[in-house]
């Protein structure tokens, strides 16, 4: 065999490795995607027959067929309101400070390391924090307020990180132009930087909330009840001023807790309820994630500095 022929075989062999690895990559990718699809289809097939108006408007019950998710979806929404109300302003303010105001010193470094680290703390640890601090030190009880605050602390690093990224992507000359017109630092932030970074911030908030709405462990740790057959008072409906906040201190349950409760029963009828509730929950979280991805995509496409 001559030299060219040897070379050709060698190249062919190497090219074959190339193709094999490409296939391997696709295979790994499709295993991951297949899992997602299997999960979604499994929930849909088992759960959809249970979905009806009654399922959304009934309280949990000892009879599987009559049980519904009224108290849990209402609870989830109320807890999310508290979480968003706390985490969004705090997260944005913290990010603005770190990105626009902070000088480079040891204190800033400590805050930054802290945020990175908090993002890696398991969620159940936040539950222990809430149990020790909010419930037994501050005496807030096993209430909507406690759960909302806990989840707010949990998603704070997500909101801060995405807001910082959004602020960082605004070019320096925008700031310089505003300063040149005599704007103060706060005016630059509130009239220019925040409006421009709004889509980015929104993405972070949505991803954070979608994480919070599916979070189970911290809520179980603070001892949320699993069987709630009443609704918390309608927000801001009581006698002002004190009665308006009664809902914050009401006992509650949320969707993931309800699913966990149904999953841990041996009766298949309850498992079917769990699948139906899971389908609702997965629909909500994937919907929120999809919205965030779409926002980010739009953002990247439209803004050309």
């Amino acid at each position: 065999m001559n030299r060219t022929e040897t070379l050709r075989t060698m190249i062919r062999k190497h090219k074959r490795w190339d193709m094999l690895f490409g296939l391997l990559g696709l295979l790994a990718m499709s295993v991951a995607i297949f899992t997602l699809v299997a999960l979604f289809v499994d929930m849909a097939v088992t759960g959809i027959p249970r979905l009806s108006t009654d399922f959304f408007t009934s309280f949990p019950s000892r009879r599987a067929a009559g049980a519904g998710i009224l108290s849990s979806w209402v609870g989830s929404i109320l807890v999310m309101m508290v979480t968003a109300f706390v985490a969004v302003p705090l997260g944005i303010a913290g990010a603005v400070y770190l990105e626009e105001y902070a000088r480079k010193n040891w204190f800033t470094t400590i805050i930054e390391i802290n945020i990175t680290n908090l993002a890696g703390v398991p969620s159940i640890i936040y539950g222990l924090l809430a149990l020790g601090l909010f419930i037994y030190t501050f005496g807030l009880g096993q209430s909507i307020l406690t759960a909302g605050l806990t989840l707010a602390l949990l998603i704070l690093p997500i909101v801060i990180t995405t807001t910082r990224e959004a602020l960082r992507s605004i070019p320096q000359h925008v700031r310089e132009a505003a300063y040149a017109c005599g704007a103060s630092q706060y005016q630059v932030v509130s009239q220019h930087l925040l409006p421009y970074s709004l889509p980015g911030i929104l993405t972070g908030v949505i991803i954070g909330l979608s994480r919070a709405i599916g979070e189970t462990a911290p809520i179980i740790t603070i001892g949320a009840l699993t069987f709630i057959a009443f609704l918390p008072p309608v927000p801001f409906s009581g006698d002002p001023p004190a009665g308006m906040f009664d809902w914050l201190f009401s006992p509650f349950t949320v969707m993931p807790i309800q699913i966990f409760n149904w999953t841990s029963r041996p009766d298949p009828a309850f498992l079917q309820n769990a699948a139906a509730a899971s389908f609702v929950l997965i629909f909500m979280t994937l919907g929120m994630n999809g919205l965030a991805i779409w926002l980010r995509y739009r953002l990247r496409k439209n803004i050309k500095w």
Binding site: M29, D42, N117, I125, G132, A217, F260, S278, L281, T285
Partner: protein
Amino acid sequence: MTAVPITGAAKLAEYAQAKAARKRREKVIEAILLLAACVSVFTTAGIVYILISESVVFFSAVPIWDFLTDNQWTPLFSDARFGIWVLMSGTITSSAVALLVAIPMGTIIAIYLSEFAGHKTREILKPVLELLSGVPTIIYGYFALLFVTPLIQKIYPGLPSFNILSAGLVMGVMIIPYVSSLSEDAMRAVPMSLREGSYAMGATRYQTAVNVVVPAATSGIASAYILGISRAVGETMILAVAAGMQPNLTFNPLEPAATITAFIVQVALGDLPHGSIGYQTIFAAGLSLFLLTLAFNVFGHWMRLRFREKY
């Protein structure tokens, strides 16, 4: 009567006053923002304070040596024994199973997305992959218990309905995006010139990826792995639902076992009076978990700083 226009020194004084007021306002705003940024520090301080103060009470009742060496974990029995190793074995086994899935698959996917896939493919596949980490963990738990376990039981009928294997496998799939997206970021940060040099020498894509890009991105890939490990160690609901809550000193993934996190869930579900020893065990268990993940996080951070390649 018309107002006399302010001129000269008076005007300047007015300007100075306005400027001072503005400066003051800016200072107040900065202080508020600083306070918001400090919430993260307060959170960490709160976690450390709560975990340590409750654990101190626990360790005054249970010798720390027993906690580390006992081979029984029965905190709720009358003859209470506290051997954290029993829970630790469950955590280690389940994390090992999860990482055996997540690390190879995450790395392959990262290499594929960064070096093989075209721009369009990547733009579509990446978000889909990220959805995997958006699914609530309780749903993964349900999926592991009622879909994956029966599936494995068809192949291996002796598998108990609660087992570490299926929980670990599902957990591994959940962790894939954490591993792959960080690794991919690290690989994409490798400058194009290195790849071009490699291609110019006649290397194929595969050879370039394995011999040039991956070694150059080692620190980033390693920190992605460490993030994956700390996720696996801290994961709660999948294990609480699908791996059972029986403390079991075993490294066999085919058996049921409780992890540190599952134990905390189990205790929280019951009604333990505040201040009882059973109540304090969850803080001691939480402290072990916190220290474990903290060690991994710090190590990952250090790796990234220490071995960061500068181009």
